[in-house]
Assembly symmetry: C2
Homo-oligomer: 196 residues x 2
């Protein structure tokens, strides 16, 4: 297209690789960047280069941080006897936002999926088995409640036999309306009902 | 939040300013960037810095390009007698993608809006009036079919009285189904019906 220079086209092509941005929204994002050069384009380019230089995966748990071991693994106030296994760094962030867990994490780096060719060797499973040898009393399997997540949880449960292994509760999300929930969730919530 | 370093938080905050990315999708985008460091994060940071250095607004029409006058304004094969006025660079790109127009453009930089405080002085109106003095036979007002766009078109029509001023046709979009169209579009399409 004559109207768009190759620099802009390259910017749009790269932006469209971000999750949540298609070709059309990548164009809008590129335009927004070029219009807000001082307040958005240059600060974002700087922030990205700083992040590329500073951030790496934690050698222990797989979290992303400017230090390795990460802030969580090197925090002496966090309980080392309880390990929460998550699929992805995003899940770790979500649990930290909830502020509900004061132990340590282990990031698998995905979930088992025959369709996507994700085998146990491609996940951080051997380092998990290594870690649980050293003073871990409980392993919480906080996988997603998807087919892949639950397959992964069952696989890990087999490997961790003889240890205390727990999983997150399934049920009605807080603020959720029964009318909008799927049968699987309703059935899980029913089966796990508790006395008041 | 302890789990996220300040570099990552800054990256997320800046990403969430892009149109189409909220706080949640900005987090996903930041994670995708950090996971695909070599193929996405670094190339995108480079592309953004190159774009910041290379791209500016065309001094004649307001298009964004690596040269000023832009590729369209300096293309001798394009008709200088017909001027297409658009609200935004994105609209210019859309018309170029359609490949339907071989004249020159004029980018207003927005549309009149009392609500957002956009007055005629904040748009590139005076440069438009200056340009039409020099051998322009027809001005096409290609504003959006919104209240702001049509207000702007009426305002410009008054200023351009005595000249040949046209606007884009309103009607059923190609591929559109009548059942899904609003009454305004249907009524415009009906009024502008043509003999077969």
């Amino acid at each position: 297209m004559a109207a768009i220079g190759s620099e802009i086209e390259r910017l749009i092509a790269l932006l469209s690789k971000l999750p949540g941005l298609g070709p059309r929204s990548a164009r809008r994002a590129a335009l927004a960047l070029l219009k807000k050069r001082d307040t958005l384009l240059e600060p974002l380019a700087d922030a990205m280069q700083e992040a590329a230089a500073a951030i790496s995966s934690c050698e222990i748990c797989g979290n992303l941080d400017t230090q390795s071991p990460c802030a969580i693994c090197s925090d002496p106030r966090r309980d080392t006897h309880i390990l929460c296994v998550v699929e992805d760094v995003a899940d770790l962030w979500a649990l930290e936002r909830a502020g509900v867990f004061r132990g340590r994490y282990h990031v698998l780096g995905g979930a088992l999926s025959a369709l996507d060719g994700v085998t146990p060797e491609r996940l951080n499973v051997s380092s998990l088995l290594e870690r649980v040898q050293h003073g871990v009393d409980e392993v919480i399997l906080a996988m997603n409640a998807t087919v892949e997540g639950q397959t992964t949880a069952h696989y890990l449960m087999d490997l961790l036999q003889g240890r205390k292994v727990t999983r997150l509760a399934h049920g009605v999300p807080v603020g959720g309306e029964l009318d909008y929930l799927d049968e699987g969730t309703l059935s899980a919530a029913f089966k796990a009902r508790r006395a008041l």
